[in-house]
Symmetry: none
Subunit: 406 residues, 2 copies
């Protein structure tokens, strides 16, 4: 995190009590035209409920991080919640730990781990043939059982999926400024980790002992090498309650989004098994007195986009639409529908394209947009804006920002 301020600091000074805010996030919801239908998934989907909501909302396009910048899931979510992702950085290690619901504590040092295969000391496969997750679990246990670190703290090695795992070191005074050991290419030896500051030397010694013992334990296994990257010492961000006076509840299903929510100080609701269950949970909890912000997260849009499956993305959007009357039934003070980034099916990955966004509230400046999609929202009353703006607009619509100046 760098020290420069941004507009979100101004909101902090203006915060007051107010209405409730519901964020419905269609992960990777924005897209590009499908080559056959010449429509984006949002354009191709039949969405009578979204259309009704868009017709009674202010709409626009949000550019999550910046022009041309394709957000990872972390930065995309930070922006939506009023944290400039250029200012608040989440390292890959911390994000991986959040992603497996690992309860990081302040001072923990986390790194992303790849199970890899080496021959004669050189990496021949950085992903060990995309290891089966069960093998990953077995190998993590084998490594952990073999360790004799003589270390006055704790070490965790947890499976994420396939070849991916996460390493967490917990102990007094461990710095997190270490270089990667992943050489990022085959045919090369893993790199020795290097301390980037004085406080990380002990961590380097510990990591070296860990790697030596782990590699001994993995000898002869299909994955015989651990590659580490994205070291970061975890320190919690200022919470959305501290910053914006919002007591948040996360109703997301997937670990990474629950992890980001915890990072921002939200409570975690029970993990919903479906969009329907998520909307039901919203109905049940909406009037809870200790919750101001509800974070609903739909993963299916991003998954279909990453699979390059436009039809499936349309289906997820239509499913959400069919269930939207459950959200409308509670008539939230402020309903925000947006995305953390675009995931065009035609690209099969995250992209930089701005995301359609609507805000429905008593104070929304209703525009001519009648369908929730990339083209219609481009002429909406919110215009094209940085994703960071969203939280300020949501707070204002909830009556949660005092007048600025006299």
């Amino acid at each position: 995190m760098t020290e420069h301020g941004d507009i979100s600091d101004v909101w902090e000074d203006l915060v007051q009590g107010g209405g409730k805010i519901v964020y419905l996030v269609l992960d990777g919801g924005g897209g590009l035209a499908d080559p056959f239908t010449v429509r984006t998934a949002l354009q191709g989907a039949r969405t009578p409920n979204l259309d009704r909501i868009a017709s009674a909302s202010e709409t626009g396009l949000m550019e999550p991080v910046g022009p041309g910048i394709t957000p990872g899931s972390g930065p995309g979510h930070l922006a939506m919640f009023g944290y400039d992702p250029l200012r608040y950085r989440i390292g890959r290690g911390v994000l991986s730990a959040l992603g497996v619901d690992f309860e990081l504590r302040e001072g923990d040092v986390a790194a992303r781990v790849n199970f890899a295969t080496s021959e004669a000391g050189k990496v021949v496969d950085r992903r060990a043939g995309r290891l089966d997750s069960d093998v990953n679990r077995r190998l993590c246990k084998k490594v952990l059982d073999s360790l004799e670190l003589e270390f006055d703290g704790e070490l965790y090695l947890e499976t994420v999926s396939e070849h991916r795992a996460v390493l967490v070191l917990r102990g007094e005074g461990l710095g997190g400024e270490l270089t990667d050991t992943d050489p990022q290419a085959t045919g090369r030896e893993p790199l020795p980790p290097q301390a980037q500051d004085e406080g990380s030397r002990r961590t380097v010694e510990l990591v070296n002992r860990f790697l030596e013992q782990a590699h001994r334990a993995l000898a002869g296994e299909p994955a015989n090498t651990l590659l580490l990257r994205g070291f970061q010492r975890y320190s919690p961000l200022p919470s959305i309650q501290q910053r914006f006076g919002l007591r948040g509840l996360c109703l997301a299903q997937y670990p990474m989004y629950r992890g980001v929510s915890r990072l921002l100080g939200m409570k975690l609701g029970p993990r919903p098994e479906s969009v329907e269950a998520m909307f039901k949970a919203l109905q049940q909890r909406y009037h809870d007195e200790d919750i101001d912000l509800f974070f609903l997260h739909v993963k299916g849009t991003d998954k279909a986009g990453e699979d390059g499956d436009w039809v499936a993305k349309v289906a997820v959007i239509e499913e959400v639409d069919r269930l939207l009357p459950r959200v409308l039934a509670i008539d939230p003070d402020v309903l925000v529908i947006t995305s953390d980034h675009s995931t065009p099916a035609v690209m099969g990955r995250h992209s930089w394209h701005p995301v359609p966004t609507l805000i429905r509230s008593q104070y929304a400046r209703i525009d001519a947009t009648q369908h929730f999609d990339e083209t219609a929202c481009a002429t909406g009353s919110l215009g094209l804006r940085p994703g960071l703006h969203l939280m300020g607009l949501a707070l204002a619509n909830a009556g949660r920002l005092k007048k600025f100046g006299a």
Copy 2:
């Protein structure tokens, strides 16, 4: 150059290899409605090819430097190429030297020169009746021939055009922080140059000796006085290759744009004699393995605008349109059509109005815009943005930016 960062620094960290980018810059292309036709030149021109391209592109408006700010050619171009013109300043002296294709070296001190006329020590015409360029050349030579500076370095005095020339001082340890000698008004004496820092004292002494000898040589000539302004010590900017991994080729015809390209580390192609020759050069060079970015510059739009000649501006746009199939024939990975600033014929000079811009690529979010002009692009999917954003969008469309964060 100040030290604050901007979004372009983030791109630097994300750069990877990717497709080729063609920038077609219609200098001063944006405009205002002509009072007779009530159309801008872009609206009035018959442009079937531009229309086709716009229909298959993402479009928007770019504000080159900032709200209400009329860019000179230097800042306008810097912005397009991803250099914040508020951060990277090019002084008038350096720009003038670039404009005559003078090969500045690091440490050279350049100043813009006006040939002026004085009587009894007071300036009576700051432009010496807009001297003929041939007279300017003769006088430059006369001054140079007369100099006995006892200076262990080199001094250049080069004609630009009419009353304009440029002075370059080359030598060890010459500072460039000097105040102007141009009093900016008639009836006043030229000002003595003053050093603004310790390192520029030697430069002041040198300039004083130069002016004294030059004025002696010019006695009795129609221009008997040199007025100096915009001193700057030249240090090259970080190149577009260093910053964005782009190996650029400049196909501009005019010296100033070639100079700006060199300043940014582009190669200079042969000087094309016409738009047709420029497009042919693009066709010939497009597949060169060592070029990623092609900079094509059309001067005619700006010239017609400055001449207040809406009809001529329309004609230039129609000429470009007629030749555009040559560009389409190579089907560039990314085609950007934009301007460095507006030059409305009705104003007869540069203006602050945002410029129509399109990006055509496989990943462009195609919008409803079907004609490339100020009004149509205002509702395009790129929205209204700072000119600085353009490079990031071009890089992303070329697949040249990695994902930000995990």
